[in-house]
């Protein structure tokens, strides 16, 4: 990064944060602080929902996913539009009609105080732990490639986001997210244009021939990682839990000028999310094609590679690098031969050259696997997942100065946007569902409520920074946090589904049903070896079934009044 990159990076990030802080410095009404401005329109809501979901990892990892495994990951989002239709039709009208600040407040109205507390506690536990990862994961990647100290990166981004989120609450979050998304889209579109300019016209056929463009797979084979069916079913439950019951999302759309604005903001996401994820994945697949013609490192996390390549196993690493370079030359020839054969139109020659091209790629993949094995042999704790480093390596080595600054700013903008949404939700839930629950007399003091919401937001910000700085994260721990989310999400969704659709089930039945379902999920997790995504479905189904079964043995519930 040169001076121009720094000006773009610091100018955009500090400028947006300062603008958000200054514009919202007089936010002192609780309703505005927690739900945002009453004049917020659908576009701001839609962008805010999108920015909260899209963290920096989205823009670092998903192109890497496209590079490594192709664009099939897009199927994971197939359940999202259907889930958002349900949120628009069922969840949102109820939240707005009751005028709640948090999703869990609704549980208190529909059931009782302890069920509300259970929902809020599960959210705070899961989202509070995840908040450390949201700040740590991009910081470690960006610090590694840019040569910055990771603790400075964590503290710098953390403090920046705390300042404007605490100052302006929900209004500041939505306002800054809009500009941050502008930086993100500006950066990603610029990267795509520069990449396309560097690629031959046959880029898409090359990516397709090498197996990177299989977007949809209707196979029923459970061994396949991403299929249309798993994406539709798993994605539906995941998205329903996330958009319908996770306060970091609920808070983005329950405010606004009217129900219409909230609904249109969600419809905006329902329509744009799949094309957006497809574009990011395609960008990764095109970076893969780019490296068919240009030399690529054998391992994209070059800092990790160099750390071991200069040690006692230097010779092994040097041999691997030489093998990879030689294969790259062969690969370049093979790809060009296939492109020429394609232009010639001879089907036999095409098939032969294509097979040769695929064969060389397999050998390149084998050398990359060997490189990862060498890293582990040198250091069993070595980080072997390098796909997260593919796109940032491309940015830093291939894009012109100024654009590099813009893309790094896009990564930080995504980190700040999603972090702000999280902190805002954690602060709100702590204030509304915990503090006000235990200090009912103070609940009517608006100024005190706002003050407490600010303190809680700051507390969660400092907690996230501390957790990111002092917890010993590893690649597996990041996955562990995702597992943790899946273990809780299903039960929380179950609580809400019972609330909405099982009107005869009361608070006692759902509380004990949810606890039993949570215990079942933990028990199954410790005994079964299934994908953690299934626990979303299991937790939800168990919560609904247990609650309904328990209600059979309990006195009938009074007629519903709140929902």
């Amino acid at each position: 990064m040169n001076a121009l990159d720094w000006i773009v990076l610091l100018g955009s990030m500090l400028g947006i944060a300062a603008y958000g802080t200054w514009r919202t410095r007089h936010t002192d009404h609780l309703d505005t602080y927690l739900k945002g401005s009453r004049t917020t329109g659908w576009f701001t809501i839609g962008v805010s929902v999108m920015a909260t979901q899209a963290s920096a990892i989205t823009f670092l990892s998903i192109p890497g996913q496209g590079f490594e495994s192709g664009i099939g990951f897009v199927q994971n989002y197939f359940g999202l539009p259907l889930a958002l239709i349900l949120v628009c039709a069922v969840f949102l009208p109820i939240y707005r009609r009751l005028g709640v600040y948090t999703a869990y407040e609704y549980l208190g109205r529909r059931f009782d105080a302890r069920t509300r507390l259970l929902g809020a506690a599960l959210f705070l536990l899961q989202r509070g732990l995840a908040s450390g990862v949201t700040i740590y994961a991009p910081a470690i990647i960006l610090s590694t490639v840019l040569g910055w100290r990771v603790d400075y990166t964590i503290v710098g981004t953390g403090v920046l986001v705390i300042i404007y989120t605490v100052t302006g609450g929900s209004v500041a979050v939505s306002l800054t997210q809009k500009w941050q998304m502008a930086v993100i889209f500006g950066g990603m579109i610029t990267a795509l244009i520069v990449l396309l300019a560097k690629l031959p016209a046959e880029a898409l056929p090359v990516a397709g021939a090498l197996g990177k463009l299989e977007a949809v797979d209707f196979s029923l084979n459970p061994d396949r990682r991403y299929t249309f069916w798993s994406g539709l079913l798993g994605g539906l439950f995941l998205s329903l839990s996330y958009f319908g019951t996770d306060q970091s999302q609920v808070q983005r759309y329950i405010g606004g000028a009217s129900l219409r604005e909230g609904r249109l903001g969600l419809v905006f996401n329902a329509i744009l999310k799949i094309p957006m994820q497809f574009s990011i994945l395609l960008l990764g697949a095109l970076v893969f094609v780019f490296y068919q013609f240009e030399p690529a490192p054998v391992f994209f996390n070059q800092a990790e590679w160099r750390r071991h390549a200069e040690g006692p196993n230097a010779e092994r690493f040097r041999v691997l690098e030489q093998k990879h370079a030689a294969l790259h030359a062969q690969r370049q020839v093979a790809v060009r031969a296939w492109i020429d054969a394609r232009a010639g139109g001879d089907a036999t020659v095409q098939a032969t050259t294509r097979a040769a091209m695929v064969e060389v790629q397999k050998r390149v993949d084998a050398v990359r696997a060997e490189a990862k094995a060498a890293l582990v042999a040198a250091d069993p704790r070595a980080k072997t997942k390098d796909s997260d480093y593919v796109f940032i390596t491309f940015i830093l080595t291939q894009l012109p100065h100024g654009v590099v600054g813009l893309l790094v700013a896009a990564m930080f903008a995504a980190a700040l946007g999603s972090k702000a949404g999280e902190l805002n939700a954690l602060g709100t839930t702590s204030t509304i569902d915990l503090w006000r629950q235990f200090r009912p007399l103070a609940a009517h003091d608006e100024a005190r409520n706002v003050r407490n919401a600010k303190w809680f937001t700051a507390f969660w910000g400092v907690f996230a920074i501390g957790f990111a700085l002092f917890a010993r994260f590893s690649e597996n721990l990041i996955e562990a946090i995702n597992i943790l989310g899946s273990l809780f999400y299903g039960v929380v969704l179950g609580l809400f589904l019972v609330a909405f659709f099982a009107r005869r089930v009361g608070g006692t039945a759902v509380f004990w049903g949810a606890l039993a379902a949570q215990v079942l999920v933990f028990a199954l997790y410790s005994t079964l070896k299934i994908s953690y995504l299934w626990y979303n479905l299991i937790g939800c189904a168990a919560c609904v079934l247990f609650s309904a079964a328990l209600q059979l043995f309990l006195p009938a519930r009074r007629p519903p009044d709140a929902a």
């Binding site: 009609r97 109205r109 009782d112 009217s258 219409r260």
Partner: protein
């Protein structure tokens, strides 16, 4: 938009909560050209989803 004041906080909700923001009734129409009901909007979202999936399936068939 119709607004009304909540009469009593429910059990389990000790303090005043945010005022109900709207009724979610028929007055809240989508206001989009050619789409007079939310059902029509949801149908459009579903149709776009089907179109996108079919488009991706065709994309897969053409390039894979």
């Amino acid at each position: 938009m119709k607004r009304h004041v909540q009469s009593q906080p429910d059990a389990g909700d000790p303090g005043a909560v945010g005022a109900p923001t709207d009724s979610g009734g028929a007055g809240d129409s989508p206001g989009l050209p050619g789409l007079s009901t939310w059902g029509a909007v949801y149908l459009l979202v579903f149709a776009v989803f089907v179109f996108v999936v079919v488009g991706l399936a065709v994309f897969t068939r053409v390039y894979a």
